[in-house]
Symmetry: C2
Subunit: 246 residues, 2 copies
């Protein structure tokens, strides 16, 4: 119902395109490396060792080396990685050299905050349009941008060259908005609504559910409490630093 699983992995179409098909796990870590690299660049470092960068990104150094090797990275043995070069490499792979235009749908409590979030602009994204279904909100300016009615979405996507849509509506409205985004030509969706979206093949959906994160923490709290309460509980579990991202 939600998503077909493309049961059979399609056999290689033959010629490998000029794009490295990186493991998903690696892709999910590249942004973290990128952030760490920007920090290092600000401190004036020219090169980093895999050990140093791994520490800054919170991962194992072997993992980092393997990740970077996947994208055919240029490091120098005995020296390390060139910070500036690596930044360019990763930004190119992530497609951040072009500042992507993003549409945000739903300017309620959470959406309002997202519209004003600095982190997007500073990391390669421009929120170029805000939408809402509530007439009360339409026309109001947020962070220098006017909220438009959702009916204008189709036109705006084409005019502004929008490729990514962010859904911050209530759960009940999310599927409808997703459908409209897809119809308008958006092929990547970031969904903050607590529900499963159904989209056609070729459209990527990532979901962020804030309550789920808390519930996972709650589980670990529950577990820790039940362990320390028990006699044999040696409480040897290490705090694990888990990051989101598939």
């Amino acid at each position: 119902m939600s998503q077909q699983r493309h049961g059979n992995t399609p056999g290689k179409t033959g010629a490998v395109p000029a794009f490295p098909d990186l493991p998903e796990a690696t892709i999910a870590r590249l942004p973290e490396y990128l952030r760490a690299l920007h920090n290092l660049a600000e401190t004036g470092a020219d090169t980093v060792s895999s050990e140093g960068l791994a520490a800054a990104a919170g991962v194992n150094s072997a993992k980092l080396r393997k990740d970077l090797s996947h994208l055919g990275s240029y490091g120098t043995r005995g020296v390390g990685y060139d910070v500036a070069l690596l930044i360019d490499q990763i930004e190119y792979i992530l497609g951040l050299d072009q500042r992507r235009a993003v549409a945000l749908v739903g300017v309620g409590n959470l959406g309002h905050a997202l519209a004003g979030y600095d982190g997007f602009a500073s990391r390669g994204f421009r929120i170029v349009a805000l939408f809402d279904a509530d007439p009360e909100r339409v026309g109001k300016p947020i962070n220098g941008l006017l909220v438009r009615h959702i009916d204008e979405l189709g036109r705006a996507v084409v005019e502004e060259g929008i490729t990514i849509g962010v859904i911050a509506t209530p759960a009940g409205a999310a599927q409808g908005v997703a459908d409209e985004l897809v119809t308008a030509g958006v092929t990547s969706i970031l969904n903050f609504a607590p529900c499963v979206l159904s989209v056609p093949a070729g459209v990527d959906v990532r979901k962020v559910d804030l309550a789920i994160e808390l519930q996972i923490l709650s589980f670990h709290e529950h577990r820790k409490a039940s362990l320390t309460a028990l006699p044999g509980g040696r409480a040897e579990q290490a705090g694990n630093q888990e990051a989101v991202g598939s």
Copy 2:
């Protein structure tokens, strides 16, 4: 630096505690199942098949059955799962039967929205205290709760029985806040600041970085664009619905 990896998996301490050690991947999906179950309960359904629940949660039915079997779940062959019973089971496992007290640190742009987010209260959490370092913000009410100065954090944690802390400060302040939370006795942290936190063993950290999610989408956009531009690109990639969570 960031976190030790407890290199050797500790040999079974002997008696397995009265707590199932579920795979992390399963734990991350339980909240999604729970949400789907609540939806089903509202529609008046008494039982669900694994197929039906899996569709509602956006996963494979086999995976769902295996997940539920891990927590020794009670389903009935030929019938399905008892919705109400399963809700209780999962809520117990996740430790949601007790409404956990949460402290939120940093009521800037994002923190303000989190403080007013309905989704927390409706899914088993109470934000009981807000903190900020900015005197300008201290004393102001947000959603019926007064913002306190961060210096009061230690006392509040004890008095209010807080076990989970949410960090929504700028990156530069996050590590300091994390240290204070840990000192105060908090053992679970949800970090929205774009940085790696270093915490002692026994403390769990989960990180949500909104920009990273967009960057991952950007990668897929970049990949799709380069594929469709190529001659051999059959564009048979299926839209993958990926959820956050380790």
